[in-house]
């Protein structure tokens, strides 16, 4: 099932933020969300978008999907809290 949605419950902008803030802000936002809700995270730090955030989502058992926007140079990460 796809996690990507046009209507996420929250959108978090971490563009330009240095490591490890994209991950920490994502964690913080997820804590506040209820289960079943989805967050969309905008992230342009490669190590966070491709490594630390997906790894965190996987460890928590949350559904995760990353969409890389090549023209814009950042990622949209969709995480659904279980």
């Amino acid at each position: 099932m796809s996690v990507k949605t046009a209507t996420p419950d929250q959108t978090l902008d971490t563009l330009g933020r240095v490591c490890p803030y994209p991950l920490l802000l994502t964690k913080k936002a997820l804590e506040k969300l209820g289960s079943g809700q989805t967050i969309k995270v905008l992230c342009d730090a490669p190590a966070s978008a491709e490594d630390s955030i997906p790894r965190y989502a996987e460890k928590q058992g949350y559904s995760f999907e990353a969409v890389k926007l090549d023209d814009k140079g950042y990622w949209e990460l969709y995480i659904k809290k279980s």
Binding site: G16, R17, C19, K27, D44, S52, G73
Partner: protein, 363 residues
């Protein structure tokens, strides 16, 4: 002229290779140490694998006699106050700066302006410590009478094996065996979705570090290996004043002069690390100019400066001590590395763990 060409090309190639591998493998010693606190051991496995590979490789080429110019790996003198205090300060700085000595350089190649400021801050910190307002403190801490030597004539740099009085390879085996066990527990053969897997990154970082030991000996007469504190200083002093050793004596073998401008071999790879990272990032389509919020820019500059102060006092950064130095088994680097880790954890607690907890949120 030919030797000058090789001098330049070899330096640039080592740097570009290192930058490429760092970007591709997202190798970051700062996160390696930090994430241990959050029970994520992926990056620390990559780091430890790199250490094991460098340690075995570097000592092997030393014993095989491949370091023809100097005959041995460069092992740093043990200056306890400087190694302990400098290491701790540096460890705190990398958390603020969002990257370590090598991390801030390669991420310049990814286009984040924050890291340009971090590198400027790093150089700023190095210069005020070595030449400026902090020089009295620095000079006191690294004064020869505060260095610890061993041996009958008290002229031998302490290493783990000569302090314990055992064969070097016994120490290497005792250190490397648990590392390989720990690495194997982390499923090192699982493929990465994109870029390099953590294990490939750790292995390649180690291979480049060993190559750097050989190349630095061959081309610059001293098996200094990879490090970033001295070389960043030498690079900028070369750019600003036309001499990497501005304000001091030029070690003839390590220097290259072209049109009256004197550069160190190591300063060349500093220049090439962001270039290698840029090439890797370009292929993966991950290069983009980015500007973080103003408060973060300030924090990153400050973090860079703290890193520079700590690294200059402590005699190295997370590569010079934590990878290269630790691999030579010099006591100085093992002590400095322990305090880099402690400094890192202290800052992570105050900057990341406590604020999160105060908001009643678990990290």
């Amino acid at each position: 002229m030919v030797s000058v060409m090789f001098f330049i090309i070899s330096g640039l190639m080592i740097g570009a290779a290192f930058g490429f591998v760092l970007q591709r493998g997202r190798f970051c010693v700062n996160s390696a140490f930090r994430e241990v606190l959050f029970q994520d051991y992926t990056m620390i496995r990559a780091y430890l694998l790199a250490v094991a590979v460098t340690m075995i490789g570097a000592n092997l080429i030393e014993d095989l006699g491949w370091l023809g110019n100097s005959g041995e790996l460069y092992r740093q003198a043990f200056v306890p106050y400087a190694n302990v205090i400098g290491g701790f300060i540096f460890g705190m700085g990398i958390v603020l700066a969002g990257g370590c000595g090598s991390g801030i350089l390669y991420r310049v190649g990814e286009g984040n302006l924050a890291y340009v400021l971090a590198v400027c801050g790093f150089f700023f910190g190095i210069v005020i410590t070595k030449f400026g307002i902090l020089r009295p403190v620095y000079d006191w801490m690294v004064a020869p009478e505060r260095a610890v030597f061993i041996g009958a004539d008290e002229d031998v740099v302490p290493t783990l094996y000569n302090v314990l009085g055992v064969n070097k390879w016994v120490v290497i085996a005792v250190v490397a065996a648990p590392i390989f066990y720990f690495v194997l527990k982390g499923k090192p053969f699982k493929k990465a979705k994109k870029g390099l897997s953590w294990s490939a990154a750790g292995l390649l970082v180690g291979v480049v570090a060993v190559a750097a030991f050989w190349a630095s000996d061959y081309f610059s007469g001293r098996a200094r290996g990879l490090s970033f504190t001295g070389p960043v200083r030498e690079f900028f002093l070369g750019v600003f004043f036309g001499n990497s050793w501005f304000g001091g004596d030029v070690p003839a073998k390590e220097a290259m002069s072209l049109f009256g401008i004197t550069f160190s071999w190591s300063s060349l790879y500093v220049l090439a690390v962001p270039i290698g990272a840029y090439l890797s990032g370009k292929i993966l389509n991950e290069v983009k100019l980015k500007v973080p919020p103003a408060d973060e820019l300030l924090k990153v500059f400050l973090g860079g400066a703290i890193m520079g102060i700590g690294a200059q006092i402590g005699g190295g950064c997370n590569i010079g001590h934590s990878l290269t130095g630790v691999s030579t088994l010099a006591v100085s680097s093992w002590v400095a590395n322990a305090f880099i880790i402690l400094g890192n954890w202290t800052m992570v607690y105050f900057l990341l763990i406590r604020p999160m907890r105060d908001m009643d949120l678990a990290v």
